[in-house]
Amino acid sequence: MTMTATQTLKIEADAIFRRKRLMAFGLPLLILVYLAYTLFSFDVPGLIKRFEIDNARALVADSYSYKTHVTRDNRAGDVVIAVEGERKGTYPEGTSPDWVTLGEETRIDLENGHVVTFLPEKAVTYDVPGYGLIQAQSVGRKGVITTLPEGDVPEWINKSKNRLTITTEAGRLTVTRNRTEVFRYFTGWELFFFTLDSPYHGLSFGEVLGRAFSGEAGAILHDFWTNKMWRHDEVAWAMFETVLMAFLGTMGAAIVALPLAFLAAKNFSPLMLVRQVMRRFFDFFRGVDALIWTIVLARAFGPGPLTGALAILITDTGSFGKMFSEALENVDEKQIEGLQSTGAKPVQRYRFGVIPQVTPVLLSQILYYLESNTRSATIIGAITGGGIGLMLTQAMITQKDWEEVSYYIVLVILMVMLMDWFSGWLRRRLISGDESGR
């Protein structure tokens, strides 16, 4: 009798073990199968073929280094030196960095023995250590005549009738009919503090500090703030706009959602119909994604921070409405009854019986959303055109200002982390304050 009982028990236990084992191996297998399926439905093999390693290399290199162009117009003979080849970073005429010597012959020192010389008659020489002297001359219609040292043409020299490109680790020389151009690469973010037209460019930190103390602090700050290359003033404004979008959207949503939540809470809204309508209303606002709200709003209000703020406001009214009404349903009735027994009117009952109970819950939810909406505001800004999100997409579209892109990315991360810390700090303060104060 007992034997059979233990036997059935053993069979049952075996069945449970089998099921457990099936789960333990089946679940990871299922995940693996799903991932394999997505791998093929996303056409990963095709993607690997399209992968543009050059873009990746340019992006990484550009995000921590920059190049200075020295360009000679082969027709007019002018030599222009410009950081990143941009007008904003052009050296004033007649001035040059110390590695370029202007004159009849322009000597460009690329360091480690690499020297490029612009000669008269549209000619140029490039002395490559360990290889020899490369001579080239642009001869109008006939193209570019190149004279190389004896031997095979190495891989890093690309020569054709109208063009010569030499790429070494020290820099790059390009000769075409119209111009001769040299790139030299440097590490760092160029002209981050002061542009070339500022008198403070090229001074050390100590010198700038010294000048600041001798009464030039305003001018220094102005030159830094209006830096045309990095536009610190616009960036700061854009960050402010992004935070503003998050703040207006979150707080606005909370203000709109609170009264509506009362209508959707079981214990405050006796009419079933009203409750259901309000709930469907919240579901609709939440269900229509922020993306769709953004598009609809951008049609009415045009691009800008207000559109972003309203998109956050509408989406979060749905989320807050749902969460607030749930919090209201969990309110302790005793406090309200106590107030009622003293003859408090409904408004007073809500104000002193309900609000103090739910404030900590609501506040912590609102502050949590404030942080996450800072991130959303960046994304929405990229779509509707406002704030740091817009600057980020604009910098990306040029496909060459990757140092600015990485700067903005760092700023966005710092901004979100700061908001995270701030909302956490405020939450702790306000909520612990509530416990002791009320």
């Binding site: 995940i31 993607l47 229509v288 993306l291 980020l392 997409t393």
Partner: protein
């Protein structure tokens, strides 16, 4: 008697003074808040291309256009719904794969960042900061960079969302881990289990319901994110929406179909996931009651 009376009066004045001060503080905070809201609204309104009051009456113009066009061509709507179903599935797949990969990353990261469980206890702060940075990184940033390198398509979006998910879930997971009992882990250690075995067999069974619940919530969020990323060129339903929007009037019936698909997908996933989450959390609560 008089003395007690006096002390009650004192108490009352003290109390009233306290109440007044509190009211004053509340009032000041309220005024600051209202001033911030109003001035913020005015700044935002000023910086916007179109003003709020001008745009308000145009708010319903666009939805009306879309709706009327959709109603006019109501016969074609089912066909459109079927046309765009594959891209909806792609959007959901992006979210699904990103949630899975992100959750796996979060699992490892959170275990490495929890006191008592970490493999290298000294590196806990490092993994914490790493998760903070991953969490702070908006998906769109990574997606745009990856689109530049890899070209458009679902994979950049998937990687971008997975990266953010790993950070966001990692934080929640490590909070769960902190409540896990160390006894099974110590037991496994005493029989010579490796770190991976201790985590997989000792910690996972304790935390998996919570993990699953958080991952489901994340899946909901990620569907929305994946739709948005599609809009900037990462494939899926967002991309189709952008196309149909850019064609302008005459193609709004397609936009309407996409709106509908996206809306119902989000609502259905919301419902399913909140059902399962309720089961997961309630199941746990019941168990707790039994053990208590």
């Amino acid at each position: 008697m008089a003395e007690i009376h006096g002390s009650i009066d004192d108490m009352r004045t003290d109390y009233m003074a306290l109440v007044r001060r509190k009211r004053l503080m509340d009032g000041i905070i309220l005024i600051i808040f209202v001033a911030l809201m109003v001035s913020g609204f005015m700044v935002a309104d000023d910086r916007n291309a179109g003003g709020f009051w001008d745009g308000l009456h145009r708010f319903f113009d666009f939805p009306k256009e879309v709706l009327s066009e959709a109603v006019d061509k109501a016969g074609e709507l089912p066909a459109h719904l079927i046309t765009f179903l594959p891209s909806l599935i792609e959007t959901i797949n992006i979210a699904g794969a990103a949630t899975l990969i992100g959750a796996m990353g979060a699992m490892v990261l959170s275990l490495l960042a929890t006191r008592g469980l970490a493999l290298w206890p000294r590196l806990i702060p490092l993994f914490r900061r790493l998760m903070d940075i991953m969490r702070a990184m908006p998906e769109i940033v990574i997606a745009l960079v990856l689109i530049f390198i890899m070209g458009g398509g679902p994979v950049p979006a998937m990687i971008a969302i997975a990266f953010h998910t790993a950070g966001a879930l990692g934080k929640l997971f490590s909070e769960v881990n902190e409540n896990a009992s160390l006894k099974p882990v110590e037991g496994l250690q005493s029989v010579g289990a490796s770190w991976a075995q201790r985590m997989w067999l000792g910690v996972m069974p304790q935390v998996s319901p919570n993990y699953l619940s958080y991952a489901l919530l994340r899946f909901e969020i990620n569907i929305r994110a994946s739709a948005i990323l599609g809009f900037v060129g990462a494939g899926g339903i967002g991309y189709e929406l952008k196309n149909s929007m850019s064609w302008g009037q005459g193609q709004y019936d397609e936009a309407a179909a996409i709106f509908l698909l996206l809306f119902f997908a989000i609502v259905i996933v919301d419902q399913i996931s909140s059902h399962f989450r309720e089961q997961l959390t309630h199941g746990r609560k019941d168990k707790r009651k039994v053990t208590a």
